[in-house]
């Protein structure tokens, strides 16, 4: 029997607006079954229209509490945005499938604060179209190691008890074992798909930070222990794991706190269970500073951080501090076990060379992640890239 939507998730939202076009979709039907009637409104267009081009902090906060179920009219399957900055960043072959936008959690550093301009959280009801796009690509390139993630502009799993999209995706990817799917989350919502395991090409990954950072900067997310317990469940059910120690956030006790995190991962998991561990340091677009200041004040470790403009425009910590932080993590993991497969996320070639003394293509275990793959439809179409979420 289908799992009901938990009450505590329903209570997070003020309203669910369902686009007329999506009214009869499976996800809308599920929402209509479990949400109270007074929270649901049938609409013919996106709610809260008539505002300016950018969201105010209040509008951004409101967008986290209101869902708009609608169809997505562009190309679902795209290259990760990091790959479009090849001149300044060293990026892996990663593709994204956006089945919604916005997040019901509230991290102080979240890049969506400068990325989204929609006044509501969106859930796209036409997942069948997304699966058709994947099917078209997979049937042509089933033998190539395409990696697809659903957690770019929405957490992959924190809303999954509403959509249950994970179930359709896991079933799809089980047909294409060379392809891999990544669910990237800061939640502990995994129970809804565990019965579909084993599926080693489905990687459930956690963006993780020490408990102190989770407490101070990652509001509304699952706690450290809850995330690791969910990861253990995934291993037991035959899914593979990844961890993203990203963004690392400097604070006076950073060494002790990140050492604790690394010790816990090393104690509870093996390099065979965890396909990759990516490491990145705090970074954000300059325009995001104002939104963060207004939403979180200056007591946050993010807004009060000493950040500098870097090549490519983002604000980052001093390069030598980043180097020290990455070295610390790499060494600490390797002291536990040299087999851990580590890489840097959205970093410059200089930082790669300083940290690994080689480029990612030369790092054993990372070659497949960085080797060029055939272009997909959206990379060849200006029209597709012009469609915004």
């Amino acid at each position: 029997m289908e799992k009901p939507i938990p009450l505590n998730l329903i209570q997070q939202f003020e309203k669910v607006f369902i686009d007329e076009k999506s009214w009869d979709s499976a996800v809308a039907e599920r929402i209509r079954t479990y949400f109270p009637v007074d929270k649901i409104e049938r609409v013919v267009q996106e709610p809260f229209v008539g505002r300016g081009p950018e969201l105010s902090p209040e509008e951004f906060d409101r967008s986290k509490k209101n869902i708009f179920v609608t169809t997505f009219n562009g190309q679902f399957f795209k290259r990760c945005p990091g790959a479009t900055q090849k001149k300044t960043l060293t990026c892996c072959n990663y593709y994204v499938l956006n089945l919604g936008s916005q997040c019901n959690m509230n991290c102080s550093y979240c890049y969506l604060q400068s990325y989204l301009n929609s006044p509501v959280m969106k859930i796209f009801s036409n997942i069948d179209q997304a699966l058709s796009e994947l099917e078209e690509m997979a049937s042509q390139h089933a033998h190539l190691p395409y990696r697809v993630g659903t957690g770019e502009v929405i957490d992959s799993l924190s809303m999954d008890e509403i959509t249950l999209y994970s179930r359709q995706l896991v079933n799809f990817f089980k047909k294409y074992p060379k392809w891999s799917l990544e669910f990237k989350t800061k939640s502990d919502k995994v129970d809804q798909f565990l019965d579909l395991g084993p599926a080693q090409n489905v990687m459930v990954s956690w963006s993780i930070n020490p408990p102190y950072i989770i407490q101070s900067e990652e509001h509304g997310t699952a706690r450290f222990e809850e995330r690791l317990a969910a990861a253990e469940k995934c291993v037991k059910s035959g899914f593979s794991l990844a961890f993203h120690i990203d963004p690392m956030i400097w604070h006076p006790e950073w060494k002790e706190n990140y050492a604790f995190l690394i010790d816990e991962i090393s104690r509870r998991f093996t390099p065979e269970q965890v396909k990759v561990i990516s490491v990145g340091a705090l970074r954000f677009q300059p325009e995001q500073r104002h939104m963060m200041r207004q939403r979180f004040g200056m007591k946050s470790l993010v807004t009060s951080a000493e950040m500098f403009p870097s090549e490519g425009g983002k604000y980052r910590y001093d390069a030598s501090l980043r180097h020290e932080m990455f070295q610390f993590v790499l060494k600490k993991f390797r002291d536990h076990n040299p087999a851990w497969n580590l890489f840097l996320c959205m970093e410059t070639p200089e930082t790669w060379l300083n940290s690994f003394e080689q480029t990612p293509m030369q790092v054993p275990g990372l070659h497949d992640y960085f080797r060029p793959l055939p272009k997909i439809k959206s990379e060849n179409s200006d029209l597709a890239s012009a469609v915004k979420i």
Binding site: M298, S310, D318, A319, L321
Partner: protein
């Protein structure tokens, strides 16, 4: 504005009009980026033995701290000698970083 929000003492933010603008900017930067600028200063004090024909200036460029180096050579032997001296400076820098 960030300094005010960071609860910086108001007397530290009162700017004396007699002080040159450059020094005021320096003072404000020190208040906002104390850890990084202290570290820059420390690195600046670890002086390296640069080739005699060079003009070296330590500086911060965005998220990177480093040296801006100018040099002039008038022949291949002088260039070779300068490169050798640069290599020595690089070794010295490497040792200081460890």
């Amino acid at each position: 504005m960030e300094l005010i929000l960071l609860n910086t003492k108001s007397e530290e933010l009162i700017l004396d009009q007699q002080i040159p603008a450059e020094d005021i900017i320096k003072k404000l930067k020190l208040l906002r980026y104390p850890k990084t600028l202290a570290s820059d200063e420390e690195k600046k004090n670890n002086s390296l033995l640069w080739p005699t024909s060079t003009q070296v200036q330590a500086q911060r460029r965005g998220d990177r701290w480093g040296y801006n180096i100018h040099f002039f050579v008038s022949g291949p032997q002088e260039l070779t000698k300068t490169i050798e001296q640069f290599q020595k400076a690089a070794e010295q820098w490497k040792n200081q970083s460890h």
